[in-house]
Subunit: 280 residues, 2 copies
């Protein structure tokens, strides 16, 4: 199968590696707004060739949309306008409601399968692409009933060949769950980095003292603003709800410290420890 | 040298491994309030034998105090009461002001070296002890001028043999820096776990969807309440200051979401990205 990947970054590039490794893609075409990214992707042999959007679409059996979320909102209807009934379009976007509302009545909607492979790192760009990024992780297929069954099968072959498991969610449930298990982690990590940077002017000290626990908690604070701001914009309402809850949880710890209520503090840590069961 | 380790948990047990591996300790005596911990430590060969506090102290050249912080506050003066001029006591505690205030005028204060090896994991107990926990990490020596020079040398041999580098801080600076680079990370992680546990009643969903980013940010939420509550109690004032700043940083993100100020949000993420320089 010939696969065109629109957006050769961390996710698009890593998927290109997996599609070639599994043998599912015999040819991978790269499409990107940045010629520098395409050149890097060719040099790294992530893609076989780079083409314009129009040319790439015409040659592909399957198109993977893997740009930042704002570009997706613009590209999705354009690609659907041009898609043929024998082609399938999948995306890898982190939010779904805005995007799916936009193409709800598009005549070619059924050729599109909304997918969210739950995998990533704090790095971005084609240089961040790695093998096995998706192995063992979950791919959410969103509003599958609005896609043609053969298109859903193609989506499952694409992400299944990269080692992913599948789960199904509606668009609103997807965006809410992702606010909880992904988006709030990033905001918490950005805020923690800012907390330390604002107060710890003596940066050499942080460097000396920061132990692995701190590094783990702020790892996501290295994540790209260009990638994340569109996600927060498109999932604003859910993210606000979750952020309110998070500030409330921190405020309760604050109140317990103020009142010297260390028994209550202990009980809430033990409750937090239950996250272990979920994460294994 | 014969080393007595009081508190055979993650830190005490890991130090026992390193002291034996380097050959610095020819004999390691374990002392612990829990006989079950001592039995585990003997079975794992972390220690050569377990003894009572009085017996262990009388046989040791160097004593390492590695219990939770509340037990340290009680044990430190007792051990100093019994210490001989040829013996050295070091601790591994995460907060220093309360402890050092308590023994400020003790006649044997100079035999004690206040140390904080900046290393750990989210696990606890002798079963959590691992080799190389300390290698390449920093050990803070606190108020070194109050310790005898030969005692400081012994402390440096102990932690140096485990591969640690050294830095010096006063007690108040130490506690403030640790509130920033360690204690707030734990509170943020506990609060994030609670945020998700409160709202995500569908725990199977979290399990399926949680990607590695979430796992990294909540890793510290698995940490022991028994170990951490005494740290928060003893470093309450600094932790409150840092927690206020952290809630303020999160509230600013909240305000930016409410006002749709995504340019401002973007700028603050880019500022947070600067943590990368510090963490490499």
């Amino acid at each position: 199968m010939t696969v065109a990947i629109v957006g050769i970054g961390l996710i698009g590039g890593s998927l290109a590696i997996s599609l070639k490794e599994s043998g599912l893609a015999t040819r991978v075409i790269g499409i990107d707004a940045s010629q520098a990214n395409l050149d890097k992707a060719v040099r790294r042999r992530l893609i076989d060739e780079d083409l314009s959007l129009a040319e790439g679409l015409s040659h592909a059996d399957t198109i993977v949309l893997a740009t930042p979320m704002d570009a997706m909102l613009n590209l999705l209807p354009k690609i659907l306008d041009a898609i043929r009934p024998d082609q399938t379009l999948v995306d890898v976007g982190s939010t779904k409601e805005k995007m799916l509302d936009k193409v709800k009545h598009h005549p070619n909607r059924s050729r599109f399968v909304a997918c969210h492979p739950m995998a990533g790192t704090e790095f971005s760009g084609p240089e961040a692409a790695v093998p096995n990024l998706f192995a063992g992780k979950t791919c959410v297929i969103v509003d599958a009933e609005d896609s043609a069954p053969d298109a859903v099968d193609t989506a499952k072959r694409i992400f299944g060949s990269a080692g992913m498991k599948f789960t199904h969610l509606g668009r609103s449930a997807h965006d809410l769950h992702c606010a909880y298990v992904s988006h709030i982690s990033h905001i918490a990590s950005f805020a923690l980095a800012l907390t330390v940077l604002e107060k710890e002017k003596d940066e050499q000290r942080i460097f000396e003292l920061a132990s692995s626990g701190f590094g783990s908690t702020v790892r996501l604070a290295k994540s790209s603003a260009d990638m994340w701001v569109p996600i927060f914009r498109q999932n604003r309402d859910h993210v606000l709800d979750v952020l309110d809850e998070h500030i409330e949880q921190l405020s309760r710890f604050r109140t317990q410290l103020i009142k010297h209520d260390f028994a209550g503090f202990h009980a809430r840590i033990e409750r937090a420890n239950q996250i272990e069961k979920i994460l294994k």
